[in-house]
């Protein structure tokens, strides 16, 4: 009998769980990831060439992860496409899952097409960083970059580093830096103490249900305390300064709405600063697949899924951070539910009840963290006329503001052409959500919530690669 073919995009916690469950349900699975090794950004793996004897020292939950990786990759019904990006999805038949166009690493990259019966999209998220004067200087990194370089390559991004922004992710980033030998000058959490305490301590039974995650956070806090790293609440980086590279940051006390308290500015000498203001889900493939999104404001758009993790698009399931930023445990549970259903597994299977419960508890936990660490409305107060908003094109705040107020450029596409914000190499991955939010705040009518994520070509592809014949991976 012909088995269902499930293509899973992304080999982080959600994608690996999806592949595992789809294999358990009897499907043939193709697991695609742009990295060479599975794990995603959460279990960011060291390169094979490092031949690390003790990779587990950098990871929480290594044993279970390692077991799952071995089980999935060694399975005779699993094809593992490492170093492979999905650059487009194409729907030939509206009732079926779309074709998956992939590009292998290399020069030139090798192009191929997959024809799944069902697709699980688990592409994850990347850091959201709000702009501030000087954020384009070398030495300003995203929090995720510092983490990826420390965990994935053993490179410390600086000698004396500040970590700033909002959210619990700042803690493991600071600990990774300490572990890699950096001095962490300070961790600046923009959310105020009262809000963080209220967010974290209400409904304590939810914390108990997330014992693993809570324990992880407690261990980070203890590591920071041991290293005597100041953890300051209600303070934000509002400027980075230096001649050609970061030499110092200016931080300021901020109120609950993130407006700066005048006179509270302070200068700290650093050679690197790592910044994160939450995460942006990587929605381009989901939008390209025609999946409906939810969320009313540009900075909180996620894909809509039902109880089985099915999107509004036939044959397309979604799991992990694209459905809402909820962390690894929820991602694993969502992945398992998605993979099982994508494979045509029995809807009455007993483990599903526990998986769904785990997923819902994970989401509730994420909800409380999000409530404790919202982006304050008044952050644009940090911006100056000449602050770069779009890093690629160096479009500044004054031009974005002028376009939003100009009747000739009220339409987002026209404004994009006029300001060039979002037209550079990253295609708005860094600025589109911010520009959409600024435009909405300035009164420009941007109706389409998915617009910042509309990128029909999800990865750059060279003309020579397009011209070469595509390989049929699964004929």
């Amino acid at each position: 009998m012909s088995r269902r073919h499930v293509v899973v995009v992304g080999a982080g916690p959600a994608g690996l769980a999806a592949a595992d469950a789809a294999l358990a349900a009897g499907a043939r699975v193709t697991l695609v990831d742009s990295a060479e090794r599975p794990g995603g950004q959460y279990h960011r793996m060291l390169p094979d060439a490092y031949e690390a004897a003790n990779p587990e020292v950098l990871h929480h939950g290594w044993a279970a992860f390692d077991r799952r990786v071995r089980r999935v990759l060694a399975h005779d019904r699993c094809t593992w496409l490492a170093g492979t990006s999905v650059w487009a999805l194409e729907r030939e038949d509206p009732a079926r899952a779309p074709l998956v166009h992939v590009l292998g690493e290399g020069s030139p990259g090798r192009r191929g097409v997959l024809t799944p019966d069902a697709l699980v999209l688990a592409p994850g998220a990347h850091d959201r960083v709000l702009p501030f004067p000087g954020w384009e200087l070398p030495g300003v990194f995203t929090a995720g970059a510092a983490q990826a370089l420390a965990k994935g390559e053993r490179v410390a991004v600086g000698e004396r580093v500040a970590v700033a922004g909002t959210g619990p992710f700042l803690l493991p980033v600071a600990v990774s830096l300490l572990e890699a030998g950096s001095q962490v000058a300070e961790v600046l959490e923009a959310a105020g103490g009262a809000r963080v305490t209220r967010g974290w301590l209400r409904r304590p039974w939810e914390l108990a249900a997330q014992a693993g995650k809570t324990g992880e956070l407690v261990s980070y806090t203890a590591a920071l305390a041991r290293a005597r790293v100041p953890y300051l609440l209600g303070r934000a980086v509002v400027e980075a300064r230096g001649d050609g590279r970061v030499e110092e940051i200016v931080s300021a006390r901020v109120r609950a709405d993130w407006s700066v308290v005048p006179g509270s500015e302070r200068v700290t000498a650093v050679d690197a600063v790592c910044v994160g203001h939450g995460f942006t889900p990587r929605l381009e493939l989901l939008v390209a697949a025609g999946c409906a999104v939810r969320g009313g404001t540009p900075d909180a758009v996620f894909v809509q899924v039902d109880d089985d993790q099915l999107t509004s698009s036939p044959g397309v399931y979604a799991a992990g951070e694209v459905t809402g930023i909820a962390g690894a445990p929820a991602s694993r549970a969502e992945g398992a539910v998605a993979g099982w259903h994508a494979a045509g597994g029995a809807p009455s299977a007993r483990p599903l009840t526990a998986l769904r419960r785990g997923r819902d508890q994970g989401r509730a936990f994420a909800g409380r963290l999000a409530a404790a660490h919202p982006i304050g409305r008044e952050w644009p107060g940090w911006l100056r006329d000449d602050t770069v908003v779009c890093r690629c094109e160096e479009s500044d705040y004054a031009s974005v503001r002028a376009a939003a107020g100009d009747p000739a450029t009220t339409e987002a596409r026209v404004a994009k052409l006029g300001t060039r914000a979002g037209l550079g190499p990253c295609q708005g991955r860094m600025c589109a959500v911010t520009v959409a939010e600024l435009r909405a705040r300035l009164g420009a009518p941007d109706a389409d919530a998915a617009a910042p994520h509309r990128r029909p070509l999800a990865e750059p592809v060279r003309l020579g690669e397009l011209a070469a014949p595509a390989r049929e991976y699964d004929g």
Partner: protein
């Protein structure tokens, strides 16, 4: 003060180091096998290797292939994300410049000169 590699001798992950030699704009730079070009450049003390449209210096920002701030040319192939490409022995890396060709007063990068 600069970015650097955790010394192998004191690294708790207990890793092996094999040297990889590349050139950056013709200059010999040594790293270790497995590093991305971005990791290698950072560990060699470089923090910036590209310029934005205004000529401002740029280096790594996101580290995971999203921001395209770390673009380099590798063996003549333009616009390679340095954070996504593993360094291979003998790679010729050249830095890129986004300043448009008609701009005056600033030396043209290899992107425009070619």
């Amino acid at each position: 003060m600069s970015p650097r590699l955790v010394p192998a001798g004191s690294d708790p992950v207990r890793r092996t180091e094999r040297p990889v030699a590349v050139t950056v704009d013709g200059e010999a730079v040594t790293g270790i096998a497995g590093q991305t070009i971005a990791g290698l450049l950072l560990a060699s003390g470089r923090r910036a290797w590209r310029t934005g449209p205004s000529g401002a210096r740029r280096g790594v920002f996101c580290g995971i292939g999203v921001c395209f701030d770390c673009l380099v040319s590798v063996n003549g192939e333009q616009d390679v994300r340095a954070c996504r490409r593993r360094a291979a022995d003998g790679d010729a890396v050249s830095t890129q410049n986004r300043r448009p060709p008609e701009a005056d007063g600033i030396r043209q990068g290899p992107e425009e000169a070619s």
